[in-house]
Every structure is written in C-alpha cells, then in structure tokens.
C-alpha cells in the first residue's frame, strides 16, 4: 500500500518566501510535493481565521512563511505577524492541537536551500502526526 501523504498549505509572502520557493525551483532543489502554495502580500496579512479554516477543511498542516525580521517589504508587517503567531501557537497548543500542525518560518528570497529544508521538516513533522482529526469538520 502506498504511504499516506499529508496535504499542507503554505502561505508564502510575496517578497521573500515566494521568491525563495522560486529560487528552490530554478535551482532544481528537491523537496516533498506535499505543499499547496498561496501567495500573500505579507506574513502580516495572515488572519488566524485563515489558518483555522485550513485545519477545518482538510489540510493536515499549515505553514506560514515570511521575510526575516527587519527585511519586511512593508517595514513592520512581520513584526506584527510574529506577535499574532506567538499567541496563536500558544493557544492552539493549550487547547490540545499538536504543535507540529501549524508552523512558521522566515525564508528570504536568497534562501532556496533553506526553503527546501523547511518544507522537508514540516512534511516530516506532519507525517509523524498522521491525518488531522481535531477541528476537522465532518
């Protein structure tokens, strides 16, 4: 039987992480094909509601990736995002959602290599956790 493959949604910021993913692509770096990418203007644009909606509607994991602190195209977008994510992550863990389901990373436009690493790690983590059961709407 074929191994179970998780579905992971990746929110990538237009200016860094999306370009990082592009670089990984043109450099022909191999990474797991489990991610579906949504390009967003900035990691600060991510509303926790979007993340909850992903978990509710069948994604096994969510990754949000943005520019490194200090590199934000909008100067401070990712600083606000960082606070939002810190609080979101604590709350989800407190409620009992596995910590690996929702992950965050900073990937710059020059870090194709790191992008592939991040996707490998997230995919491995979610594979270990198995299919999402909590919060899923039946």
């Amino acid at each position: 039987m074929k191994e179970w493959q998780p579905k992971i949604l990746a929110f990538l910021c237009n200016w860094c992480s999306y370009a990082g993913a592009d670089l990984a692509g043109v450099s022909r770096i191999q990474y797991p094909p489990n991610i579906r990418v949504i390009r967003v203007p900035c990691s600060g644009r991510i509303n926790p509601i979007s993340i909850m909606k992903c978990l509710q509607n069948g994604f096994d994991g969510v990754l949000v990736s943005g520019c490194h602190p200090g590199d934000c195209h909008y100067i401070t977008g990712n600083y606000y995002a960082r606070r939002k994510f810190a609080v979101l992550k604590t709350l989800l863990e407190f409620i009992g959602i596995e910590p690996g389901r929702v992950q965050f990373s900073w990937v710059s436009a020059g870090e194709g290599e790191k992008f592939a690493e991040v996707i490998k790690k997230v995919t491995e983590d979610v594979k270990k956790l198995g299919p999402a059961k909590k919060l899923v709407k039946i």
């Binding site: 926790p48 509601i49 909850m52 909606k53 509710q56 602190p69 200090g70 401070t76 600083y79 606000y80 960082r82 606070r83 939002k84 994510f85 810190a86 609080v87 979101l88 992550k89 604590t90 709350l91 989800l92 863990e93 407190f94 409620i95 009992g96 959602i97 596995e98 910590p99 992950q103 965050f104 990373s105 900073w106 991040v118 790690k121 909590k134 919060l135 899923v136 709407k137 039946i138």
Partner: protein
C-alpha cells in the same frame, strides 16, 4: 458591605444633585434572588435602588463601548460603579479609544469576589433559593424548606479565586476601604497544563460541546464591542452557525485570540453562559502568555499601547524556523 451600599447611595445622590453626572450605571436587585441586574439612574429618587454585594457579577464596562454608550451632544460625564475587573475593562476601553477619560466618572468599590450561582446551587442540592442575605464571610440562603449558611469563599467564582486586582486601578471616587490583595489568589491554569495535549483536547471538547451558540459570552464581554462579529459576517461566511463542534471550537478559539492582550479575566463570559461552559482558562492562559512574552498586563495603564497593535524587534521567536 451594608455600609458600602449606604455610602454608595450617598455618593451617587451627591453627584446627581451637584449635576456632575446625568447618568449613573450601577447594580440593583434583580427579579430573581442571587441575580443582580444593571440599573441606569438618572434621578435622585431612584438612588435607593442601588445595591452592591457579592451577587453583582455583571461587568458594567460593557455599556461604554462606542456603539452602546448614549449618544447625546454636550452630555455630562457618565458615572459608573466599578469593581476591580470592571475598572480594568474601563482602562482598556480608554486605551482602545472607545471612550475618553473625561467622559466618565469612575466610582470604585472594593470587591472581595462575586459568587458563582452554579457552585451555590450544587451546595444546596439544586433547590430553589428564594431569599439570601450576605453577612460578612457568610451567605445565608433560604428556600421553601431549607435554610443554609454557606461560606463565601467556597462559592466564589473561579476567576475571583484567581483575582489579583480586587480594587479598580483607576478611579475618581473610591467608596469604602480598598480590600487587601489576597496573595493566595493568582491566575493559574497548571491543573490543565500538566495534562497531555490529548487530555486537554478531551477536556475542551467536553466543555465546548455544551455550547449552544447563543453568544451570551460575547454579549456579556466588555471587550466584544465590534459592530459586526466575525461569526455574524455572511460575505464571506467564515464559519458555520450551527452548534457543530468544529465551528463552535473555532468560534471560541478566535474569540479568545480577539481578546488576547485585552481580556482582564473578569469571568463575565463564564457567568453569562447558560450551559456552564468553563471559558475562563482560555482567557487566563492568554493573559499569562501576553505578560510573559510582551510584559503587558491589560487594564492597568490608560496611556499604554495595546500589545497586539505594537511590536518590538526583540520579541522572542523560538517557535519560528
């Protein structure tokens, strides 16, 4: 406490007489025993309706949100009677530009905790209470064929048992003597945090599956003043409106996120809940996280910047790859 009621009535009477305020928001006896009700006093003759005791659980700051406070031009300040947690909610309203400091006269009262009617009902064996009387540390309840004397600290609401701010931090007039801070009372969710994530999920699943989506928690919350809540929006409709467990869980998660860094753990949501969902741990956990991470405690300083509308280069980011 009787003394406080007397002083309170005199203070309010004086304020109305001197025309310093034209409206005072306070508590009066409700139609059922053990349930006080908010009262709006505009005339001196109504002052005797005011009460203040351990049944005054509502957070009156709710009435100060932009969409709720009375809109009359050139009106005098509104007087409002506040306990410690209500006082902090008001500070939070000022921080969030819902009301200006000069638009209100805060009448602070010391609060030793309010009772949880559910705990009380358990104690008297779910019989109907027809009369009650507060006597110092004791509450005497009377029903059809029973009379019980209960210790107040046994039936205090959970959030009061963790309260570190029994007196309002900001006030114009203080009635009575400030109560000393009880050092044994501090926010804690350790009993839940010592459980494994799966056990915690089981606990919250059990709690939240009681929810019938009546939104009483949201309507009682002083900070839920949005004109349209995200669960009421229909274009796009974010989440389903039926009491489906997934939708309900997400409603409570997102509501907690929206009040993170603003919630003062007054327990109004838990008290308002008709099915007894224990929502307090969520707020308390968030308050702790905001304090640890951003060094901010909601409702203490009217000049503060709300933590979620602010940032710092040196915020911890151990969870980010």
């Amino acid at each position: 406490m009787e003394n406080i009621e007397k002083q309170l009535r005199e203070t309010v009477k004086k304020l109305l007489k001197e025309k310093k305020v034209d409206l005072v928001i306070g508590y009066s006896k409700g139609t059922l025993p053990l349930h006080s009700t908010p009262v709006f006093i505009t005339h001196e003759k109504d002052v005797d309706n005011l009460i203040f005791d351990a049944t005054c659980g509502n957070n009156l700051a709710k009435y100060l949100g932009k969409s709720r406070k009375p809109k009359t031009k050139n009106r005098k300040p509104i007087g409002i009677i506040v306990k410690g947690c209500d006082g902090r909610s008001i500070v939070q309203h000022i921080v969030e530009n819902q009301i200006k400091r000069e638009e209100i006269i805060i009448i602070g009262v010391p609060c030793d905790g309010v009772i949880d009617t559910r705990k009380l009902e358990e104690k008297v064996g779910r019989k109907e209470v027809l009369k009650y009387q507060v006597e110092g540390e004791k509450i005497i309840v009377e029903g059809k064929d029973f009379k019980n004397s209960l210790k107040k600290k046994e039936i205090l609401s959970d959030s009061c048992l963790m309260c570190k701010y029994p007196n309002p931090p900001v006030y114009d007039i203080f009635v009575g003597e400030p109560v000393p801070v009880n050092e044994n009372r501090k926010p804690n969710t350790d009993n839940l945090e010592s459980l494994s994530p799966d056990k915690r999920w089981e606990y919250f699943e059990k709690e939240i599956s009681k929810c019938i989506r009546c939104y009483a928690c949201r309507n009682a919350c002083p900070l839920c003043y949005c004109e349209e809540c995200f669960v009421d929006q229909s274009g796009p409709q974010w989440f389903g409106k039926s009491p489906d467990l997934s939708d309900t869980m997400i409603f409570h998660i997102v509501r907690t996120l929206h009040t993170a860094g603003r919630c003062v753990s007054c327990g109004a949501c838990t008290r308002a809940c008709p099915t007894g969902v224990n929502l307090a741990p969520l707020g308390i956990r968030m308050e702790k996280e905001i304090k640890d991470r951003f060094g901010y405690t909601a409702g203490l300083d009217t000049e503060a910047t709300p933590p979620m509308a602010d940032w710092n280069e040196n915020d911890k980011q151990e969870f980010i790859m």
